[in-house]
Amino acid sequence: MSAGTADTMAPESPLERTTRMMRRKHLAIFGVPLLILAYLTYLVFSFEVPRLLAEADAENARILAGDMVSYKTHVTRDNGSGAVEIAIEGSRSGLYPEGESPAWVESQGGDVTLVELGGGHVVELIGQNRLRYDIPGYGVVAATASRSGGVEASFPDGPLPDWINAASNRVAITTEAGRVNITRARTEVMRYFPGWELFFFTLDSPYHGLSPLEIGARAVNGEAWAIWQDVWLNDRWRHNEVAWALVETLLMAFLGTAGAAMIALPVAFLAARNFAPLGPVRQVVRRLFDFLRGVDGLIWTVILSRAYGPGPLTGALAIMFTDTGTFGKLFSESLENVDEKQIEGVRSTGAGPVARARHSVLPQLVPVYLSQILYMLESNTRSATIIGAITGGGIGLLLTQAIITQKDWELVTYYIVLVVLMVFAMDSFSGWLRRKLIKGA
């Protein structure tokens, strides 16, 4: 309180010191967010975010979202021969056998095929090359396709709505009920249905279209194995191969993690200050660990794919190489932090180095190592998915390929769900094991 009296060479008053401190604080409080903001602004421009936003196409998102949970059935007419084919997703595996058709496609005798898209939308395929589409609330579109004249279409009066894309050789109509494409060669009508088509049984299976109850009844009657076979070997979804892919992914993660841990376990001793008195050896081992880690799983995968080709082993080895480095580092750090008291206690009984390691070092490290290993196992389950996409193995490959070819979003969804379930399962498994092995006993 009386600080003000001593004028000359007075030490700073608390107020002055506080003000100075506050100013320093303001520098940080305003400086750091400003720097972050500046950096993010730089990123926005260097990554061309404005252009990206301007060009982002909601249509793609719609296709994706729609395709994830629905499928379409194609009714295709060859405008040359007039032959009509009905196929789920337009694929050969979903082709309706000759003479069979879903209820909404009706052969009217003669040359007319009636396709009901629902909601009052009716498409008539007439003859070899004519089409009539009655669109409720709009009117009738009629079109004729020919090699010479292209696609000649007539529309109700008024300007063309934007859901009709008409050119001289092609007319495409997209309504909420379905899609119609007419080109010189083909006429295609597509109707959308919610759900994943043929998920359990393909069209050629005797169980297709049966209710769960009926299938249950047949299963009880001794057909269970046949039913299972039909589902398991489903030609379109190929559940057996997907299951194998999951196994391969888990194998990559497990073998990579376990292998790395087993190699790193003894080698880490050479990198720990308190166990490897020889400085140069320690340095060499440490640099080796750094190298293995630094090269990264991605590059190891690329390198190994020459020697091992595609498959899960390549991925497992790539994970193993990187993680040997990671574990080596982690393990040697834990080794340097061991409790010397316990070791000394065992040492004082005359125990040799091996016995000491087994009875005083290992018990301390086991819980630490286990939790590190299990943590890596969890994270490697995700890595294995990614590495599989590069090496050609596991669910990662199926997933990325399905995404890249961009038409089978329902497969993508299926795989994503499986991947997420797999990762969740792995998380809870390792959590369970951790509790069991570390806290239990």
Binding site: K72, R186, T405, K407
Partner: protein, 312 residues
């Protein structure tokens, strides 16, 4: 190119082995190799590739008496590395991918068969295309725009256009920032089509047989697949360039395979069309007149082009 293909006739063993009884072969070859690994290139999702080629593997396993496995690496390079490292024994490559292997080690693989189109030809085209609403209709309009290739190992998606496009005009080069404002690799045919359709790149190249109609995406090729899948509306795209015919890539076998195995596989694939038409459709990824023999000579030009373009 058709003549060069017909030059390479069948080897005597091939015709004789065709009528050897299957059991015999299965017995005698069991100890020659313990398994046969077939690599299948991209273009479809991995599962469809497996499905399409499984029948071939089954036939081969039956004939050879060993396990036959299908591998579907993520990209061209995966197959190339597998063949170079010897972990894959057989693959149907693009011409440029074959050239890549040949340049790196001519002893690794030998071309044996090529797919023929319905009309008997065995060529296709690299197609340059853009969005209709971009106003681009030819390479001249592409000055200062972004151009996209597919995979660096693709013949139609990279090698051929990278040679032929600069030849179209005095000022055209493939150096990013010169004629085109940027030249990028999208990673594959499918990615190129989506990138052009989305406007990420102004034009790109992909493959098509060039038969049939543009509005259908031609009879076969990446555009047809995308159009069938509803990813693109062909009305919105326009062709801006077309390459000279590109020879279809070869089916190759690892040179070190025992001759009997090679003969057996050549025989199987060549006659696949008559044995099982559906299987042939799947393996050839579309309608085909079947496979016929071919040799390295047919690809010498491509190999030369690749050597000049990329090196090796």
């Amino acid at each position: 190119q058709e003549t060069s293909a017909s030059d390479t006739g069948m080897t005597p063993q091939e015709s004789s082995s065709a009528d050897t009884s299957e059991e015999d072969l299965a017995d005698s070859e069991a100890d020659l190799i313990d398994e046969l690994n077939i690599g299948v290139l991209g273009g479809e999702n991995a599962q469809d590739r497996m499905t399409a080629n499984q029948c071939l593997a089954d036939y081969a396993a039956e004939r050879l008496g060993v396990d036959v496995n299908i591998f579907t690496p993520a990209d061209y390079n995966g197959v190339i590395q597998g063949l170079l490292g010897g972990s894959l024994d057989m693959a149907w490559l693009g011409a440029s991918a074959y050239a890549a292997i040949h340049l790196q080690d001519p002893e690794t693989v030998e071309p044996v068969l090529v797919k023929t189109n319905l009309d008997g030809s065995y060529s296709y085209h690299s197609i340059g295309f853009a969005r209709t609403d971009s106003g681009i209709t030819s390479l001249e309009d592409m000055e200062g725009k972004v151009f996209g290739f597919g995979d660096p190992n693709s013949t139609s998606g990279y090698l051929i256009p990278s040679v032929e496009i600069p030849a179209e005009g005095e000022s055209i080069t493939m150096e990013p920032g010169e004629y085109f404002s940027d030249v990028v690799f999208t990673g594959g045919h499918e990615q190129t089509i989506v990138a052009v359709n989305n406007g990420d790149i102004d034009a790109g190249v992909t493959w098509a047989d060039g038969l049939g109609n543009w509005e259908d995406g031609y009879n076969s090729g990446a555009l047809r697949k995308a159009s069938d899948a509803g990813i693109v509306d062909m009305n919105n795209l326009v062709e801006i360039w077309r390459s000279k015919p590109i020879p279809e890539g070869p089916v190759v076998l690892r040179t070190e395979l025992p001759q009997e195995v090679k003969d057996e596989m050549v025989n199987l694939v060549e006659n696949l069309h008559s044995i099982d038409e559906d299987c042939a459709y799947g393996v050839a990824a579309g309608e085909t007149a079947g496979f016929r023999p071919i040799g390295h000579e047919a690809y010498e030009t491509i190999v030369e082009v690749r050597r000049r373009e990329i090196g090796g």
